[in-house]
């Protein structure tokens, strides 16, 4: 005790306590490492859970963005349709959404979500803010089927604005529309505007259909033909306007029987 108090064991105690501290540090380091190892999985699990929650939130927000973009698109379409109806006050319009297409690839018809309950009748013309798309072919209470002007059985009497002549616009199985029965002595040029003529009573006059893109004139043909680029994109029809105050004229009794 006297030697220790006198400082004669200081070197020995330093070695001893240093060893103890090193041993303590070694244990402490290993314990912390093991503790980290044991607690880390819990953190990963909680992080994964949090990540999943955030991913779910992101997905929900993305869905909301898509829905809002769709609503903005629909609003734009409706605004354009309202502008169109205001610019053409002579007609009465009712809007309807396109909900389907004809199941047959040979035909070009679309189905809309309004029918006779909304006053729709067979033969009523159907337009968009860009121009004519067709007319109602069949009606049930809550839906109607529209024959597009691109349908191979469709035929529309048209007026070529610049050439100032009448012709007949027919569809095809590929969806292309062609002008037929153009007299040979008429000069038809690319870009000529094609409008409904109103002849035959099937459509009201002066509805825009499209522009001439190509003319085929051969000396040995009775009539010229022309390809028309419609103003309406028929693959992207969403909302259409039915002209409800137009009553088509049935001229079939006037057509002489063969």
């Amino acid at each position: 005790m006297a030697l220790a108090l006198g400082g004669y064991f200081s070197s020995a105690t330093n070695v001893f306590t240093g060893s103890l501290v090193n041993l303590q540090a070694w244990f402490s380091t290993r314990f912390v490492a093991i503790q980290d190892f044991l607690t880390a999985p819990r953190d990963i699990a909680s992080l994964r859970q949090r990540n999943a929650e955030l991913e779910s939130d992101v997905a929900e927000l993305q869905a909301q963005v898509i829905q809002l973009q769709q609503e903005v698109g629909e609003t734009d379409i409706l605004r354009a349709l309202v502008d169109f109806s205001r610019a053409n006050p002579q007609n009465t319009y009712r809007a309807a959404a396109v909900i389907g297409r004809d199941p047959s690839p040979f035909l070009h018809y679309v189905i809309i979500n309004r029918g006779s309950n909304d006053g729709f009748l067979r033969g009523m013309p159907v337009v968009t803010d860009q121009g004519l798309i067709g007319r109602i072919d069949a009606v049930i209470s809550d839906a109607a089927r529209i024959q597009l002007i691109t349908d191979p059985a469709s035929s529309v009497n048209v007026h070529l604005q610049n050439a100032d002549t009448e012709a007949s616009l027919v569809g095809s199985v590929t969806g292309d529309v062609t002008l037929e029965l153009i007299p040979q002595d008429i000069i038809v040029e690319r870009g000529d505007l094609v409008l409904t003529s109103g002849l035959g009573g099937g459509y009201p006059p002066d509805l825009i259909i499209g522009q001439v893109v190509n003319v085929r004139s051969r000396d040995f043909d009775l009539f010229q033909q022309a390809t028309v680029q419609p103003v309406v994109d028929f693959n992207r029809l969403q909302i259409v306007l039915v002209i409800t105050n137009f009553k088509p004229v049935d001229i079939s009794p006037l057509v002489p029987a063969p």
Binding site: G100, R101, D102, R145
Partner: protein, 166 residues
């Protein structure tokens, strides 16, 4: 009671055809989901109600389509007849039978449609119809054939494994 499952399946198929499939074009051809569904249903061994399904589907498609109603009706019944014949010939390779039924069925329905439209006075050039409508439609139907077969096989197993309720 087993036949009641036809009601939602046929309705869903026709709705999907009009709302989705008819908007997906390859050239001017589109797939015919009701036809592929009927071909897949008729290819299942246990199924004994394929004729009724074909008539119901044909009537429904004939109602919604502007084609003469007799075309889908006769066409889909012809698909079932083809399936019955081919299933006996190639019974050991059901997928081969499915592809054969789909291929021949699409061509039959296509030519029936063409004939009916031409008889009603619609001008349809045969070359356009073959190259731009029929062949692309055949290809699309063949693409649909495998998933449709798998779905209808599972449906047939589910329907025909359950005991019949009178």
């Amino acid at each position: 009671m087993r036949n009641l499952v036809a009601v939602p399946v046929i309705l869903l198929t026709v709705i999907l055809q009009m709302a989705v499939i008819s908007r997906i074009y390859l050239l001017s051809g589109i797939a015919d989901l009701p036809l592929v569904m009927l071909a897949a249903w008729a290819s299942q061994d246990d199924v004994d109600s394929a004729w009724q399904w074909a008539v119901a589907t044909g009537v429904l498609v004939g109602f919604v389509s502007a084609l003469p109603w007799v075309v889908p009706l006769v066409g889909y019944v012809a698909v079932i007849a083809l399936a019955q014949v081919l299933q006996r010939r190639v019974w050991q390779a059901p997928l081969l039978a499915m592809f054969s039924i789909t291929f021949l069925g699409t061509i039959v329905v296509s030519f029936l449609s063409l004939a009916a439209l031409r008889l009603s006075g619609v001008s349809l050039p045969l070359s356009d119809v073959l190259g731009l409508v029929t062949l692309p439609s055949v290809l699309l139907n063949m693409l649909l054939a495998i998933p449709a077969y798998a779905v209808m096989r599972d449906l047939a197993r589910w329907v025909y494994s359950a005991p019949e309720v009178e």
